[in-house]
């Protein structure tokens, strides 16, 4: 058997029944997110075809693995294996970037209740898959050693237990974190809870843990080992980079995020925050690779630099552009959902939230105020009766309770919206 850098490859580096656990988990999670649940609405109105395709394409990662496993023995590379791997990988990238389209989000329907994977998944998939591309790019840049170029030994190996661990980490990073994040957002608005660092630490802490888990899983996938079984060289200075990534992603990014209103955040600010996130991911991978491979690496060969560089750019585009665009779509899509939740709480809380939103709107420059107040107006129209009237009434009462100067300014914007919709 061909061995890897740290001894023979682990169990699960090949093709066997051990493909089932990660496949079953991926299929279950993606089917939950796309299944037909409404008795009255057409499936494609609330689960748009593009969304369904992109979500089900999460399972494509199995095909990416098979492209390495079925084209030759583990760890033995060939031109054919490289073509199969990079082609399937490029298709996976394509399936991811389409999640940044605004055509992803379907119509709001009350039957979905609080179950809105369409508001969490697009940003989560760009985040998780962006991390995978960034990590693979880093690994190829740093560890495509000249001695392995002729034998294609630099190609990833693949391990299914590593993938099982990565899928679990992905569920933590995307689903658990996404749902927690939405709950924190609503509790902040409605009950003034988690306002300061407590909410931010949960949010960013889950991000770092999820990232670290996913990064570790995929490094094992690419190296062909079962997680937690190989005694790596453990080059402790690498830990400094892991700590640095924690500082970038948790306190620094958390502090910056606390300064902005989430719903009305500008695209440029969002892009900036994603660029910082990308930096955190790069630093984390550099730390992990040094920690596990025994030293601080520089670029290993020009082939590694070119191939790894391309994969790296793929990761950068997904995290910085794809995720920023998805976040903008999601924030807009969240408004009817939030109003729907608000329609189910006491009048007093609804009024409080609406008054807070009016204050946020007032502080925006006129053009952005118009855009965001129009978004709320459109979201209100999506609600069924009697919930729509309830929220509408609270908005009017909140407006009436504002100081005159604010009220007049906001009413001017509302007039513009009414005139716009009447045209």
């Amino acid at each position: 058997m061909v061995g890897g850098m740290f001894g023979p490859f682990g169990a699960g580096t090949g093709f066997g029944w051990y493909v089932i656990p990660p496949l079953a988990m991926l299929l279950a999670v993606t089917l939950i997110m796309t299944w037909h649940v409404s008795k009255t609405e057409k499936w494609t109105t609330y689960r748009r075809p593009l969304y369904t395709i992109a979500v089900l394409a999460e399972n494509w990662i199995i095909i990416v693995g098979l492209s390495l496993i079925l084209t030759g023995p583990p760890g033995v590379g060939s031109f054919g294996k490289a073509v199969a791997f990079f082609t399937t990988l490029a298709i996976f990238w394509g399936f991811t970037i389409i999640l940044a389209s605004s055509k992803i989000q379907g119509k709001f329907i009350p039957e979905l209740g609080k179950f809105r994977p369409d508001l969490i998944y697009p940003t989560g998939a760009n985040l998780a898959r962006g991390e995978i591309f960034t990590g693979l790019g880093m690994k190829l840049i740093l560890t495509t050693f000249p001695a392995e170029i002729a034998t294609w030994g630099w190609l990833p190996v693949w391990n299914w237990w590593g993938l099982t661990w990565a899928v679990i980490s992905m569920v933590l990073l995307v689903a658990v974190r996404g749902m927690t994040k939405m709950q924190i957002l609503m509790r902040r608005m409605m009950y003034d809870k988690y306002l300061g660092w407590s909410g931010q630490l949960i949010e960013e802490g889950l991000l770092w843990i999820g990232f670290a888990g996913l990064a570790y899983g995929f490094l094992n996938v690419f190296m062909g080992y079962v997680p937690f079984t190989v005694v790596y060289p453990r080059y402790w200075p690498g830990l400094v980079f892991l700590i640095l990534s924690f500082i970038i992603l948790v306190p620094v990014r958390g502090w910056l995020k606390l300064r902005y209103d989430r719903i009305t955040m500008k695209f440029s600010t969002t892009v900036g925050l994603q660029a910082l996130l990308y930096l955190g991911v790069v630093v984390m991978f550099y730390g992990l690779i040094s920690l596990f491979m025994g030293k601080f690496f520089g670029p290993s060969s020009s082939l590694g630099l070119v191939v790894g560089g391309l994969v790296e750019v793929g990761g950068l585009v997904l995290i910085v552009f794809g995720r920023a665009k998805s976040l903008m779509n999601d924030r807009k899509g969240q408004i009817p959902q939030m109003l729907w939740v608000l329609a189910h709480v006491e009048e007093e809380i609804r009024m409080k939230v609406m008054t807070k939103r009016m204050h946020v709107f007032y502080q925006l420059p006129p053009e952005r105020r118009l855009e965001h107040m129009r978004n709320m107006d459109n979201a209100l129209k999506e609600l069924p009766e009697p919930q729509r009237s309830l929220v509408f009434k609270s908005r009017l009462l909140a407006l009436a309770s504002l100081p005159e100067e604010m009220r007049l300014e906001l009413m001017k914007t509302m007039d513009k919206i009414m005139m716009g919709s009447g045209m």
Binding site: A24, L112, W165, M179, F228
Partner: protein, 57 residues
Amino acid sequence: MEKIPAAPSIFKKLMWINFGANALVIAYGAATLDAAIFSIGVIGEIVFVILSKLGAA
């Protein structure tokens, strides 16, 4: 106050597949005395229990 409906019933059904998949990992880890694979399964169960609780909340 009227309650918002929780996650659709399919959520629960498919969540069982996840429990099953992780149980398979745990069983394999136990049968082969492989502590690493066993732990992956246990952590998987924990993550999916949290997810199912969040989904039903």
